[in-house]
């Protein structure tokens, strides 16, 4: 099951050229671009690991792409996303976020039904991949 999170996630995966164009748009707006990765893509997992520091004083997307490729070398089997943080007053939040790398094989999520009192049902989504220990979830070491 293809994970869809953030911008452009219903489009085919962006090419590096398209990623660079989006990053350039972010830099042009003065947003800090971050690279984040995770192997636990649960929709409620907002806090992904950061790859390096936010990149806020770059002029050109090539620098970000360089970091992205470094990150892919190490965590190519995980989800990697770019997020752009707008520090200007009144916003102070992430303005754009999109997935730039995903594992080859995405086992998806299962829905668990928990029968509570009075025939109520509580639902939980669980990632199949997250059953395995961290680092080994997507065919990693």
């Amino acid at each position: 099951m293809r994970v869809t999170q953030g911008c452009f996630s219903f489009l085919p995966d962006l090419t590096d050229e398209q990623i660079a164009a989006q990053v350039q748009y972010c830099l042009g707006n003065g947003w800090a671009v971050n690279i984040e990765f995770t192997d636990d893509p649960h929709p409620r997992n907002t806090y992904w690991e950061m790859w390096g520091l936010p990149m806020f004083d770059l002029r050109d997307a090539a620098g970000v792409l360089m970091e992205l490729n470094e990150c892919r070398k190490v965590y190519g089997d995980r989800y990697i996303r770019m997020s752009a943080f707008d520090s200007s007053h009144g916003w102070e939040s992430v303005r754009l976020s999109f997935i730039v790398n995903r594992p080859k094989d995405e086992p998806g999520f299962r829905l668990e039904r928990h029968e509570a009192g009075g025939r109520n049902i509580r639902y939980t989504t669980k990632s199949y991949a997250a059953d395995r220990p961290e680092g080994g979830r997507y065919g990693g070491k």
Binding site: G52, D57, L58, R59, D60, A61, A62, G63, M66, E67
Partner: protein, 307 residues
């Protein structure tokens, strides 16, 4: 000049194998930059010639690329060698402008660094630091001043080597993203290159900046003064000619930079002279002109006459 008709009507109907060179030239607008270079930089004949050559090469390269005759990105890394104050940084800024207009760098900004900004202080500190700078310089020009300090042969544990390796790697693999200009004194750069052959082979253009002649230094001084709305009186000009002669023989002479500093001190003395007589009514002319006494009070003349 091109043999192709220059009139715009004819240019419209040119087949794609033909190129109107003049129109190309005007389109990228490097003519202005080159003219500005000629106008604003005094002397430096060999440098200007080289830059014109490089600009022509790049213009042709650009056309070749469009005609699918080449797909390679030309190596554009350069080294500027010359004594202090000969205009290396200024030319680097212009170079970035030219490269930007020709489309060989995307943004055309210059990131100017020295060893301190590239090399870390402890293990594992250098790589992130160098990469940080490289990321900032992407799409523009990375100007490394006094590049030979990166390599310290006397200390084999020096982290400079690590920075050099990262630089070399990026210079090779990301040629389309970044142009690196190394600058420094001629003899020390030669030594640096001979101990780092990787650098020499990755640098396409070596440009040597000659020292300025006396009359060029005077012209530079007058240009600087004009920019600041000052001028020499006739006697002050004579005195300054002597000042240049004497200053050149003294240690730590750094060409145009020394001239700028000298002018700053002269402005100081002029201001002091004017303020000394508070009852005087000043004209614009008084305020603008530097007198011989402002020049002659320099320490340079003392040591010059005293031996």
């Amino acid at each position: 000049m091109s043999s192709v008709a220059v009139s715009p009507a004819a240019a419209e109907t040119l087949p794609s194998e033909q190129v109107d060179l003049r129109r190309e030239f005007n389109e990228v607008g490097i003519g202005d930059v080159l003219d500005q270079l000629d106008r604003e930089l005094i002397g430096l004949k060999p440098v200007k010639t080289r830059i014109r050559e490089i600009a022509s090469l790049l213009l042709i390269e650009r056309i070749r690329k469009r005609m699918n005759l080449t797909s390679d990105v030309p190596t554009l890394h350069m080294s500027f060698t010359g004594n202090p104050g000969t205009g290396k940084t200024t030319v680097a800024l212009r170079m970035a402008n030219i490269l930007h207009k020709l489309g060989f760098v995307r943004r055309g900004h210059v990131v100017s660094v020295t060893r301190d900004e590239l090399v870390g202080q402890y293990i594992g500190h250098t790589a992130p630091k160098t990469k940080e700078i490289l990321k900032k310089a992407m799409g523009g020009v990375l100007f490394i001043d006094e590049a030979y300090y990166l390599y310290r042969p006397d200390n084999e544990r020096d982290y400079g080597q690590e920075a050099i390796e990262i630089l070399l790697q990026v210079m090779e693999s990301q040629r389309e993203d970044l142009v690196v200009i190394l600058a420094g004194y001629g003899d020390r750069m030669d030594k640096f290159f001979s101990s780092n052959p990787g650098f020499r082979s990755r640098i396409a253009h070596h440009i040597d900046f000659p020292d300025y002649a006396d009359d060029e230094l005077l012209a530079i001084a007058e240009l600087m003064l004009r920019d600041m709305n000052y001028r020499f009186s006739a006697e002050a000009r004579q005195a300054f000619i002597r000042y240049i002669e004497l200053r050149k023989t003294q240690p730590l002479f750094s060409n145009a930079r020394s001239i700028r500093n000298a002018l700053d001190r002269m402005r100081l003395r002029q201001a002091n002279r004017l303020v000394a007589d508070l009852d005087r009514v000043l004209t614009a002319d008084n305020i603008m002109s530097l007198e011989a006494s402002d020049v002659l009070a320099s320490r340079v003349f003392l040591t010059g006459s005293g031996g």
